[in-house]
């Protein structure tokens, strides 16, 4: 759907209001959505759509995806969580995934940053180096 400039601006303002100490406050987000749905101001559908997208992007920025070939033991998971929180600050949403095709090592993605320490990744880098 086409979202007007004004709707985008309002959604952005509402999104800014939902932030507390640089982090998105879930309570405020729910309150904003509830209010928008109940009062239905002019262009509310556009505002809601853009607001949802901004929240989605914020989630993606704070999402930490940890991939490994085998299930990680609890203490290793804890270690990864601690070191990532130290680097990126609190409020990360962690997901742990198993991907046997990685062969070994870890692949960590936080937002758009990727740390690839997997054997599959290194083999791919080696292959690319031979090609050039």
């Amino acid at each position: 759907m086409r979202i007007s400039k004004q709707a985008r601006r309002i959604a952005k303002e509402l999104f800014t209001l939902c932030r507390v100490d640089g982090r998105l406050d879930e309570g405020r987000v729910r309150a904003v959505v509830g209010r928008l749905v109940n009062t239905r101001p002019r262009g509310y559908a556009g505002i809601l759509h853009h607001f949802k997208r901004l929240v989605e992007l914020d989630f993606a920025r704070r999402a930490a995806r940890v991939e490994s070939a085998f299930p990680l033991p609890a203490e290793l998971r804890q270690g990864v969580q601690t070191s990532l929180t130290r680097r990126y600050g609190a409020g990360l949403h962690f997901t742990f995934l198993e991907k046997p095709e990685l062969l070994g090592g870890l692949r960590v993605q936080v937002g758009s940053d990727v740390y690839d320490g997997t054997i599959a990744g290194r083999l791919a880098a080696l292959a690319a180096r031979f090609q050039t």
Binding site: A60, S112, D113, Y115, G117, R122
Partner: protein
């Protein structure tokens, strides 16, 4: 075998074993050679993006939530959801003498099937032009070999001279003639072992042209032996708008290498109208706001930043130069359109080619009244200044009086003489394509015109007279021509020698 092992070992050693942070994004939209990518929070303006499988892109729009990138090369294999990585590098092209004699694309990859390009240096495609401290004013000529230009609209090394005119009025030919003439001069200096001569290397950038036209240009350059001193950068009409947009910048980077290393280079952008159109296409697909004639707001900056990179550096910075001959195609002779006026205001003069003159048989069809060179006269050799100083004025007067020419007999003797002189000058300046005239011969012929040696030659026989005179001077008075080239000034004794030679010629042909 041991070499192979060492090679593999060095490749493995070169691999970074530590964890490296990479910045990635996801393709959200792809079409018309432009991708919109989500993520890539660390992307820089004009940074190369790796789409995988050897496809690269260039980040052009950094927006709040997305990055707009143009794809270099084949974009048909890219899919929505594909991962894209930043590379931390700006777009670069190979530069150096290894490119001379080669035909390359926008990325500097060979298109001529002559094997890989030997270049160990690369220059960024976008670079800030040299500042005022590095520059000096032009003082060395670019000999185009076209009499009308060398005499009336001289071009200096480091100058930007626009070639403007309608379709098929000989714009490309002017550029080709200049390249051929300079290749001839370069070769002559090489053969003579002249260390003082500064060779002028050429770069021809074909933007949005038909492949057949480009093939023709390459053939002409090859036939006249100019290709070994030339780099041809091709972004043909069938190439993507993105490569057409980047081609002049890539060519300019190749030229800058010569300038930075104390050499002289000439770059021909053929043509910037199509370049502006390609940039408009890229901008519209990137959803940038459009302005007049749907061109984006920064179309002036697009050409000004490109042409500002042509410069003459001073001795402290290597004494190199990059001369630019941008070409603009006008519609129905309209020089006041958007892009032509922009480029006219950026350049140091223009050579205006007229369709009417072209079909009257005045070729090159240079309109003397509308063509100017704002800085080139400082670079003209003294001998040429001596013989050509009055010619532009004479021709201007002739054009003014030409309307009266039909009443011939009613005019006073002085006016008739002016018209007769004008007609002969117009004839003298007619020149077939790909046959540049050496500057010493130009000086000798123009000296003959100025000193009334042509006044008794009927207008229709002026061309024959000129051919015979050229032949006579090159075959029998080669020493005299060499003297003009050496002394670069017509002193009284040289004038006497010229007078004697011309009198001898007239007696022979009488």
């Amino acid at each position: 075998m041991s070499n192979l092992l060492q090679e593999i070992e060095s490749q493995i050693a070169g691999l970074q074993t530590g964890l490296q942070r990479q910045n990635v994004g996801i393709v959200r939209e792809i079409g018309d050679g432009v991708a919109r990518i989500e993520g890539l929070t660390d992307a820089m303006m004009n940074e190369m993006l790796d789409f995988g499988n050897g496809v690269m892109g260039l980040a052009l729009n950094l927006e709040e939530t997305e990055v707009g990138a143009i794809i270099l090369g084949d974009y048909t294999g890219i899919k929505e959801g594909q991962e894209v990585r930043t590379t931390g590098k700006l777009l670069q092209v190979p530069v150096g003498k290894g490119l001379l004699g080669r035909v390359v694309n926008t990325l500097g990859e060979p298109l001529d099937g002559k094997g890989p390009i030997r270049a160990d240096t690369a220059y960024p495609v976008e670079k800030i032009a040299p500042g005022i401290i590095k520059r000096r004013s032009v003082n060395q000529p670019v000999q185009t070999g076209i009499m009308a230009i060398d005499a009336m609209i001289p071009i200096g090394r480091g100058q930007r001279e626009l070639i403007i005119g309608d379709r098929s009025t000989g714009k490309t030919t002017l550029g080709l003639d200049t390249m051929i003439n300079n290749a001839r001069l370069n070769r002559a200096a090489e053969e003579a072992g002249d260390k003082d001569y500064r060779p002028l290397y050429s770069i021809y950038v074909a933007i949005g042209q038909k492949q057949s036209n480009i093939a023709n240009v390459i053939r002409v350059l090859e036939e006249h032996g100019a290709l070994p001193y030339t780099i041809v950068v091709v972004a043909a009409a069938s190439d993507s708008a993105t490569s057409q947009y980047l081609a002049p910048f890539a060519g300019c980077a190749m030229g800058e290498w010569f300038m930075d290393h104390g050499m002289d280079a000439l770059i021909i952008y053929d043509d910037l109208s199509k370049h502006a159109t390609a940039y408009r296409q890229v901008s519209l697909v990137l959803k940038r706001p459009s302005g007049r004639e749907a061109y984006p707001g920064d179309v002036f900056y697009l050409h000004s930043r490109l042409l500002e990179r042509s410069a003459r550096l001073n001795e402290k910075y290597g004494n190199g130069s990059l001369t630019a001959l941008p070409i603009i195609e006008t519609q129905m002779g309209d020089v006041s359109a958007y892009i032509p006026t922009n480029v006219i205001s950026i350049t140091d003069g223009q050579i205006y080619l007229e369709t009417d003159l072209f079909y009257q048989g005045v070729r090159p069809a240079i309109s003397v009244g509308l063509s100017v060179s704002r800085v080139g006269s400082a670079a003209q050799i003294k001998a040429m200044k001596q013989v050509a100083g009055r010619i532009k004025g004479d021709l201007a007067q002739f054009r003014e009086l030409a309307a009266f020419a039909q009443f011939g007999s009613d005019l006073d003797a002085k006016t008739q003489a002016l018209i007769a002189r004008g007609r002969r000058i117009v004839e003298i300046f007619k020149q077939p394509q790909y046959r540049p005239v050496p500057v010493e011969l130009q000086v000798a012929i123009l000296w003959a015109v100025q000193n009334n040696f042509l006044d008794d030659v009927p207008v229709e026989q002026v061309k024959t007279f000129q051919h015979r005179l050229s032949e006579f001077l090159t075959t029998r008075k080669a020493e005299l021509l060499a003297r003009i080239a050496r002394e670069r000034e017509i002193k009284p004794d040289l004038a006497e020698a010229l007078k004697a030679a011309l009198t001898e010629f007239k007696q022979l042909t009488a």
